[in-house]
Subunit: 424 residues, 2 copies
């Protein structure tokens, strides 16, 4: 067995033992630990910023893009933000031990379905060092041990943040191995984690396609992917055009680099002309490049829209994460739904219409994590849902779909109380 | 691409299209289809029994064990039983479209979490042909398309049953490809299914360790395993001894070949002598072989118990599925819980005690799918839970844990209704 594999296995073994102890910790103890973690993060700000400086220096030398370097960079304010975030999580209700359902059988057996921690969760992520804190904190709150494996760009920052959080947690009596960070950044460490189903109960990969592909192909345990968002807006022929413009502009431009921004707008043929006329000046002012099917291209070029390109096949399935919007004119709602089902990523899609029946048809027939009627797709977010915290947005269908918060980091068990019942 | 792979991919593609149509079918239509499936199963009894005759003949020629052949064999009564089972499922409430939770955000957005079908479910099983019917019926009820792949022993029976079910479903207007059976029994077909995550959303393997291992190592989609049950009873020092004897005898002997039967009894040292004295004659009469740790061995040999063997290490983790019971004497409840956590399979475990505090400690600290206080583990079963139907018992932690019924064959989506809200 090679050294790296045995090192990763050792992390797994320690996390499993910690998870057993952690599952028995009281709400009070876990919350005290979270507050201590927040304090320790503030107290270690100097060390964290020095470590972060090394990462930023290397990223600059490696000529990473400016947005990448910006996401990497920490300052006092961002550390304060992380610490504040921890205190907010401490204040949330503890999901552990909650009775989800209970009933008594005719034979007198009392069955309750009780929420319990999953056990050991592996989080594999890239780039932003604040994920180290967010993930560790949500796992601590839910009584799960966590094995973190961040990207190479932020390795020094991650190690420093994890050290502070561990010190805080341990000072409040939590098992030392509740929060573990694998300091190896090669893909082999990811593979060993993914194969270690005796110690890891769930893996959550957050990152690019190559990382997720590596995890999925090796994983023996459940994986909840945080994949691309090819989100789509459909402007129905009975849409309120002002509302349609407001929603499409917001969903595309308010923050184009995130997964719940839209990439495509579908427009009903009957209202295509007035819709494009109303939205064109606003999108043009925000410098949105349009990639249009022939009919929409015809409309937009008549308005002298710039920049404008004919859409190619791959435009319908591309997550631009940029100020680019694909546009297609459709003949009816059936074509719109068929497009969403075929080309979308089943993340967040919206119909804009005044017609209740067509709205309900869209809401029923589009099988996406979140389906909207007359609202921006940008609301697909744990905080906007009122969940108080979020580990990410699942693009998978099982266990967790859409915004993934505290409850989604839990499983359940059945507790059955009897008076000597046996099966005849 | 080899022929088998392209054949399996074609099954996947057809199932995916059927799933889209199926998800839109009304409750009425699905229930009408189930009744038609039951009728067609009865009408095809002759063809099914002829096909089954071939399987039984081959099994006999291959010298399979008598219990194996018995599980394989169909008769009029068993077919009637399958048809009756279908009618019972038709009468159950439709889980699709049920609102699990709903709330309104301060900005007026109305969010509802709605139960929807998973999509395409792959069921991989061995031996018993009635699984073909059970699985197809539960998937139809829940609006999921299903790809079935049964074992080679029952291939003729499976094909005949699936043909009858498909004919029934299609006669009631369900998509023809809602129920597909892959007639190839080699392991390669399993591998191709497991790799086909673009078409299959969930795989449920039911069978032996080798089959499950194959599925887990290739699967790119979620897998819900139906693995072994190493279930354990702990007889506490404050147990009602008559109740303890009744429960242990029931959990071991009422049906030893199933996963919720116990394989080990742990006995508190203080009551070991009277407990063994009470239970020994009953277990001996039922011809249960005991495999005992030194202390329990000492007690049982003093009672001249037969058959009796010293337990070896592997006895604590073996699923006997037979009239064999491992016995260990423990000093306290902590040792009992540690044994359960280390050696059990986290399926179903029980404490027998009059002491509420120790019962609650066991219920809290044992992390198994079902944890009992003073009742037989044999109740871990969909019907006994009142679920009305069961696709199996999950030994996994995510999505479904323990008895897996209609709700566990569903996922959810968020439906969000607004009046033009955008994100600031």
């Amino acid at each position: 067995m090679d050294d790296l594999r045995s090192e990763v296995l050792d992390f797994g073994k320690r996390a499993r033992a910690a998870a057993r102890a952690l599952a028995r910790m009281s709400t009070q103890r876990k919350n005290a630990a979270l507050l201590a973690m927040a304090d320790q993060l503030r107290a270690s700000a100097g060390a964290i910023l020095r470590a972060n400086g090394k990462d930023v220096e290397k990223a600059t030398a490696d000529q990473l893009s400016l947005p990448m370097i910006d996401r990497l960079r920490l300052d006092e304010k961002r550390i304060q933000g992380m610490a504040d975030g921890i205190r907010e999580v401490a204040a949330l209700e503890d999901p552990a031990g909650k009775v989800i359902a209970e009933w008594t059988r005719p034979n007198g057996l009392h069955i309750s379905k009780v929420r319990v921690p999953i056990g050991v969760i592996g989080i594999i992520y890239e780039s932003r060092p604040n994920v180290t804190s967010d993930a560790a904190v949500l796992c601590t709150k839910t009584g799960n041990a966590v094995i973190l494996r961040g990207g190479s760009e932020s390795i020094h920052s991650n190690v420093a943040i994890a050290e502070a959080l561990c010190a805080g947690a341990a000072s409040a009596g939590l098992p030392e191995d509740s929060i573990l960070l694998i300091p190896k950044t090669g893909r082999d460490a990811v593979r060993h984690m993914a194969e270690m189903d005796q110690y890891i109960d769930l893996i959550v990969p957050r990152g690019g396609r190559a990382l997720i592909e590596t995890v999925v192909s090796y994983a023996r345990m459940p994986v909840i992917k945080h994949y691309v968002g090819v989100c789509i807006a459909y402007v129905d022929r009975q849409a309120d055009l002002d509302m349609a413009v407001r929603i499409v502009v917001n969903a595309k431009t308010q923050r184009p680099g995130v997964c719940n921004a839209i990439e495509t707008v579908l427009v009903h043929r009957e209202i295509a002309a007035p819709f494009f006329k109303k939205i064109a000046p606003i999108l043009a002012e925000k410098k949105v490049e349009m990639r249009a099917d022939p009919d929409s291209f015809h409309q937009l070029s008549a308005l002298s829209y710039q920049p404008l390109r004919p859409a190619r096949d791959e435009d319908w399935t591309t997550e631009y994460l940029d100020l680019i919007l694909a546009a297609r004119t459709v003949d009816n709602i059936e074509n719109a739904i068929a497009h969403v089902e075929k080309c979308g990523s089943h993340h967040s899609d919206v119909i804009i219409t005044r017609d209740v029946a067509r709205a309900e048809k869209f809401l029923n027939e589009v099988d996406s994590a979140t389906v909207y009627w007359n609202a921006s797709t940008r609301f697909t977010d744990g905080a906007e849902f009122g969940f108080g915290a979020e580990i990410g947005i699942s693009t998978d269908k099982l266990h967790a779909r859409g915004p993934m918060a505290l409850e989604e980091l839990m499983t359940y068990k059945y507790v059955i109380r009897g008076e000597g019942q046996i099966r005849e």
